[in-house]
């Protein structure tokens, strides 16, 4: 039963992975990648790690890939053209790397089969939420905190880059998709290179940002 499920989901994962590389439309690639993540999550469940499976779906398939799909939709990317390969010298290196990876996999499989070890816990409570939480906050507290600080640095870096990139005024707040302008409004010459969505609080503010003037504005007193 488990073997059947493994073959099903592993096949799905490999199929989606191949499709992700082969597809020319970026959105199809993204959908294939989501398929890979979901198939992997199913494999985690069969390996008695339900927490990792749930987190895999929530974080990768549910959050990161939504952002990727969002960006693809926002930029409305067309099909990539099939170009001839420019760097033909890379092909032998790629083949060698693939062979090395394959050799590693074969080695690990034979090594594990030669030295079978009984797992430390025969009853599999190791994938359960409480044991993972306990481990994170006791034994592995330092790596956990370091990872958190690393992520915080990434956030701060992103904000710094977004603020001083020179695309927007320092007071502008960038929120993905908060304000999507019609293409006709954006196709003015002076704004042709600035398509970053900007949060505005009123139509007047948006028009001011875009350099448009109200033609028949009633005088404000």
């Amino acid at each position: 039963m488990l073997a059947l499920l493994f073959i099903l989901f592993a096949g799905l994962a490999i199929g989606c992975a191949v499709s992700m590389v082969v597809q020319r439309n970026p959105l199809y690639s993204a959908i294939s990648l989501i398929g890979v993540f979901i198939a992997l999550a199913c494999l985690y469940v069969t390996l008695a790690a339900p927490f990792i499976a749930a987190v895999q779906v929530i974080v990768y398939a549910g959050a990161i890939m939504v952002l990727v799909v969002f960006v693809i939709m926002l930029l409305n990317v067309e099909d990539e053209e099939r170009r001839p390969l420019r760097l033909r010298s890379l092909i032998p290196i790629a083949v060698m790397l693939a062979a090395a990876l394959f050799a590693e996999a074969v080695f690990i499989i034979f090594f594990v089969q030669a030295n079978p070890k009984t797992p430390a816990h025969t009853v599999s409570d190791i994938g359960m939420t409480s044991s993972i939480g306990g481990g994170l906050f006791t034994t592995y507290l330092l790596p956990f905190e370091i990872t958190s600080i690393l992520l915080l640095m990434a956030i701060v870096g992103a904000i710094t880059l977004a603020r001083t990139g020179g695309l927007l005024s320092p007071r502008a707040v960038v929120v993905p998709g908060a304000q999507v302008f019609a293409r006709e409004m954006l196709d003015r010459e002076k704004y042709i290179d600035d398509l970053t969505p900007v949060t505005t609080h009123s139509t007047e503010e948006a028009e001011k940002l875009l350099g448009l003037e109200h033609k028949d504005q009633s005088p404000k007193t």
Partner: protein, 357 residues
């Protein structure tokens, strides 16, 4: 033999839950139209069957026999995939909700009225819900229509934003009960007469409000229905969908409403708990569905009452008020838990007359 019994129970449970939920969803649509009619001083559909009771059936027949129009320049595969994702993601969460306590069935013996009970049920619900975004976003993209695209983009950004507040709002309950298993969370809410143990009033009032607001936004209902704002976007992400494919989106929206109500009932209103449940276990099912119906009515009531948000208001509200409030709730709950205030309260409130106690 034990495995076979388990499998049989699983299939029967899914069939019954599916039938009950689908029937209730169909009648929610009718109830929405009738209640909205009442709120707006008109009648609503009352011609098909006694009091309009056969209206869902008539609607279904109409959906089936309508012409199915596919836009010429749509991205075919994704266009067909989107409603499937939306409906599947909506229906998948149904299996983890505890519909009732342990009951005695004639042949099968003691059976818990929950289809699948596992360690990470709450995370499973959040994960499957977050997959549901793709249905709407991809529908908007593949229709090759600018209004659809706008609707899809709005849906994606709105759902990412409010998912955070939703998840953070639930952490209070998880801290409180120390488990992600929905069945145990419900069992812990048994109190005096099955009421005093509810998470809602006694321990998680802020979390409940945050969850309720974020859940409305997650299901794209008024006042957060910007992805299908008809005054600006024709019909939003499903502008180009017709016949049964539109019906699937429609179904997904109402099933989502239903599952979100079930989660609110399970986590905050004590699930099946209520007076006399420990004498008559079957009462639990009616309490559970009754509480869910209350939430559904609340949704309809809101729709008849509130106007729609503007998009920047929606984003400001989500990020600047709801998320900080949820974080405050987490810190507050953790501190009170650490100080042992909740234990004192629960000894005070949860007397030994609780279900199973």
């Amino acid at each position: 033999m034990e495995d076979l019994k388990h499998l049989g129970l699983l299939i029967i449970g899914m069939l019954i839950a599916f039938t009950v939920v689908m029937t209730m969803v169909a009648y929610t649509v009718l109830a929405e139209r009738r209640v909205l009619g009442f709120i707006q001083g008109r009648l609503g559909p009352n011609r098909v069957g006694p009091g309009g009771l056969l209206q869902p059936l008539a609607d279904l027949l109409k959906f089936i026999f309508k012409e199915d129009i596919v836009p010429d320049k749509s991205t075919r595969f994704v266009y067909f995939l989107a409603p499937i994702i939306a409906t599947t993601a909506a229906l998948m969460t149904m299996v983890v909700y505890p519909f009732g306590p342990e009951v005695n069935l004639p042949v099968l013996g003691a059976v818990r009225l929950v289809i699948a009970r596992f360690d990470v049920a709450l995370l499973y619900v959040l994960g499957v819900t977050s997959i549901g975004v793709y249905g709407i976003a991809l529908a908007g993209w593949s229709s090759n229509n600018k209004y659809s695209l706008m609707g899809g983009l709005r849906a994606a950004s709105q759902m990412i934003s409010y998912e955070l507040a939703l998840g953070l709002g639930l952490i209070g309950v998880v801290l409180q009960s120390g488990t992600l298993d929905l069945y145990s969370i419900v069992e812990q809410q048994a109190g005096h007469l099955g009421i005093s143990g509810w998470n809602l009033i006694w321990v998680q009032p802020l979390g409940f409000i945050i969850y309720l607001i974020a859940a409305i936004a997650e299901t794209n209902r008024v006042p957060f229905d910007l992805p299908e704002a008809e005054t600006e976007l024709v019909a939003g992400f499903h502008t180009e969908y017709s016949a049964m494919k539109f019906a699937l989106f429609f179904l997904a929206e109402y099933v989502n409403m239903f599952t979100v109500s079930m989660l609110a009932t399970t986590l905050f209103l004590g699930g099946w708990n209520g007076p006399f449940v420990h004498q008559l276990p079957w009462l639990g099912v009616f309490y559970f569905l009754g509480k869910v119906c209350f939430f559904l009515f609340f949704y309809i009531w809101l729709r008849g009452t509130l106007p729609r948000f503007r998009f920047d208001q929606l984003m400001t509200f989500g990020w600047k008020y709801l998320v900080p409030a949820a974080i405050i709730n987490i810190v507050l709950t953790a501190t009170l838990q650490w100080l042992g205030v909740f234990d004192y309260f629960s000894q005070f409130l949860k007397t030994s007359t609780g279900w199973g106690g």
